[in-house]
């Protein structure tokens, strides 16, 4: 990257974009995570190869069904891309330590905004290319060269998503004010990401149509003749290599991109400049109550009070944890809403254990791995074990009310089943906490918002252990009922 930067004219748009890419590349995690990701990518590419061989003799004609399906897929993927672009925009506005430098340099602010926007689009493209291209590229190389239109479509979608993401973020700043913008923005982004998933799961509960939201969207488009022709068919035609469609979509996206850079640069600057007050609460009067109310006897009480305050004062973080429960809501609907579906009590038992694992795992990660002042704890006269036990107990105590909800719902159906569910829920929660404790990796709290969990390994292990415990709980409750 450095030779390219040296060739570009300093301070110009391309130079800034290359700089952004260099910084983004260097910020990527290295080590085991990279190796694991590479292995998954290779395996995924292998799957794509198998699919390509199977599809080799299948004709991919731009028929109505394929074009409509492409439109539905484009909408779903663009919504996810927009979420990612929103989060990236927030990081740029609120975390970007280099904006002070860039905006104090003799460079047009519009150039800075466009470079940042390009970097956001590039990060979105790279993420989704990693997900989509291993499946598309082998097919394109083995008999379907028309699919080489897919990367162009991805770029167009990413450009549009970057504009939407930044526009929504700036809109949130304007509506919610600079101080609340970050929290509200993260909640909006999480809702946007979850909306299609939730809608798809809820729609799939309809007795006559158990299908995904994407498929439902496709059927709705088919029924209303959307996507088979005209503008709606452009994504499908572009994906299948139609040069005119590619030109139209890429040209439109680039025009929108330039327009966004032109239209949003003032809003971006205003939002960034008002960011100086984003973190400070309004200066309120000091409480007249005695200071003694803050002081607790005992390590656990002290630790619990601190962890509870930190979580309660970070609504975006708390919301991410709640969102994990929202994602499980459709499973509850499965259990409660279908006469011919799975039995209610065992399904609820399974959900209870998995949900407890998710919540405790998240809380344990936040209180154990995402400690803001680890040196303070190390310098304190408490052993690491004592501090970690107190932190784990805090996480379990915070999750306890949630763990009681589902067993309470099972109790009228089967009191014994409720007890079994409670026992397995506690076990699942404790295991999730212990996994986090054993494989903890110090990280910043803000990383939770980006990655949703501390590490892939602990996330997978927690899901596996709590899933197995949940199945065992479900089986026992099924036998009891």
């Amino acid at each position: 990257m450095n030779p390219l930067i040296r060739r570009a004219a300093p301070g110009r748009f391309l130079w800034l974009v290359l700089h952004e890419l260099r910084v983004a590349l260097r910020a990527r995690a290295r080590g085991r995570g990279t190796v694991l990701a590479a292995i998954v990518l290779v395996a995924y590419f292998g799957l794509g190869l198998l699919a390509a061989v199977a599809l080799r003799r299948v004709e991919l004609a731009p028929g109505a069904a394929l074009l409509t399906a492409a439109l539905a897929a484009t909408i779903v993927i663009t919504s996810f891309m927009t979420t990612q672009a929103m989060l990236a925009s927030q990081r740029t506005l609120f975390d970007g330590g280099d904006l002070d430098l860039l905006l104090s340099a003799p460079i047009a602010p519009r150039t800075v905004v466009l470079a940042k926007l390009t970097a956001i689009a590039a990060s979105v493209v790279l993420t989704f290319a990693a997900l989509i291209m291993p499946m598309v590229l082998p097919a394109a190389l083995l008999g379907h060269p028309e699919l080489l239109g897919v990367p162009a479509l991805l770029v167009a979608m990413a450009l549009v998503s970057a504009c939407l993401g930044l526009a929504i973020t700036l809109g949130v700043v304007r509506l919610a004010g600079p101080r609340a913008a970050r929290t509200v923005g993260q909640i909006v982004a999480a809702l946007l990401a979850g909306a299609i998933f939730l809608v798809s799961q809820v729609i799939a509960q309809h007795p006559s149509a158990r299908r995904s939201g994407g498929l439902t969207l496709y059927e709705w488009f088919s029924a209303h003749h959307v996507g088979a022709g005209g503008i709606g068919a452009l994504p499908g035609r572009a994906a299948l290599g139609d040069p005119l469609a590619i030109l139209a979509l890429l040209g439109g996206a680039l025009a929108l991109f330039a327009l966004a850079g032109y239209a949003l640069d003032r809003g971006f600057l205003r939002s960034y400049q008002s960011g100086g007050v984003r973190l400070s609460r309004r200066a309120g009067r000091a409480s007249s109550r005695a200071i003694a109310r803050h002081f607790r006897a005992g390590l656990f009480a002290t630790m619990f009070a601190k962890e509870w305050r930190l979580l309660a004062r970070d609504p975006a973080l708390a919301f991410q944890i709640v969102l994990r429960l929202i994602y499980l809501a459709p499973l509850v609907l499965v259990a409660l809403g279908r006469d011919n579906g799975p039995p209610v009590a065992p399904t609820l038992a399974f959900i209870s254990v998995v949900a407890a694992g998710q919540v405790v795992g998240s809380l344990a990660w936040i209180v154990i791995s995402a400690e803001d002042a680890p040196d303070l704890l190390t310098a304190a006269p408490v052993t690491r074990n004592q501090a970690e036990r107190a932190k784990l107990a805090s996480a379990l105590a915070m999750a306890a009310p949630i763990a009681l909800v589902v067993p309470a719902a099972i109790a009228p159906l089967s009191p014994a089943g409720a007890l079994v569910t409670l026992a397995f829920t506690l076990f699942g929660g404790a295991m999730a906490g212990l996994i986090e404790l054993r494989w903890q990796k110090p990280m910043k709290r803000s990383a939770f918002l980006r990655r949703r969990s501390g590490s892939l390994l602990t996330g997978l292990l927690t899901f596996l252990v709590t899933g197995l415990a949940g199945l065992a709980a479900g089986a026992i409750v099924w036998l009891l009922t």
Binding site: R281, G284, H294, T302, K306, T378, A379, P381
Partner: protein
């Protein structure tokens, strides 16, 4: 002779190179000791080993006679650590932060609360006691961290560049707090790049370079060691830390 507040023998630590190399140091109780040295001299690593944040490769550390490596909890109970970057929680208020630190050091609430009130008033943080630290200036954060370091009444206070980035008023407040702690019987070990602070405040000064103690003593003793009775500490420091060819 009373037990030294801090006794270091043969302390060594290497990362990719030797950072602290066979360091011996004795600091008497009730003393304000300034540890000076060029960048990369090993000052911070030494202090982090004293406070149990970094494990030495070799050597021993005794804090008021307690072996800090064998009995870290007992040693930590007597010690406070204040790094240049305050160890704070942005979402906690100063009062809540002090309550948390007091809880870590297991100070009974009945003792800790009045002490917190005294410290907050003394450091002029009382009116901000219920505001979250996230909106504070660097100086205010440093004062909150200092209050946290003092709330458990440490016998040994270890500070790494506590005046970095503070304005004159804040720096004066921190210096006053340190002097008051010493007057109250505490021992203070401080690193600083501001030689004037060491010159005015320290009872004794140690100069470290390449992980080794080059010289220590009062200002007069260091001047004598550097070869002139009327030079400033800055002159003496440069002369003592420069390679022989540079001063020849």
């Amino acid at each position: 002779m009373s037990e030294p507040a801090l006794a270091i023998r043969g302390l060594a630590k290497s990362f990719d190179r030797k950072v602290v190399d066979d360091l011996d140091l004795d600091i008497a109780a009730g003393e304000l000791y300034a540890l000076l040295g060029p960048n990369g001299a090993g000052k911070t690593t030494t202090l982090r080993m004293v406070t149990g944040l970094t494990r030495p490769d070799a050597g021993s550390i005794h804090i008021f006679g307690i072996d800090a490596l064998a009995e870290p909890r007992a040693a930590k109970a007597l010690t406070a650590w204040l790094p240049d970057e305050p160890m704070l929680y942005d979402k906690l208020s100063p009062a809540e932060y002090l309550a948390f630190v007091a809880g870590l050091w297991r100070i009974p609430p009945g003792e800790a609360a009045p002490e917190a009130e005294r410290l907050l008033k003394w450091l002029e943080l009382w009116d901000e006691r219920d505001q979250r630290c996230e909106g504070f200036s660097r100086g205010m954060k440093q004062k909150v961290a200092l209050a946290g370091a003092l709330i458990h009444r440490p016998r040994l206070l270890v500070l790494d560049e506590p005046l970095t980035g503070l304005d004159a008023t804040m720096a004066r407040a921190v210096k006053d707090a340190l002097r008051a702690a010493v007057d109250a019987g505490a021992t203070v070990v401080i690193t600083t790049h501001i030689l004037e602070v060491a010159e005015r405040m320290a009872d004794r000064i140690g100069i470290i370079a390449g992980g080794r103690l080059l010289a220590e003593g009062s200002l007069a003793q260091l001047r004598a060691r550097a070869g002139s009775d009327d030079m400033t500490l800055e002159d003496a420091f440069i002369r003592l830390t420069s390679p022989p060819s540079a001063t020849a």
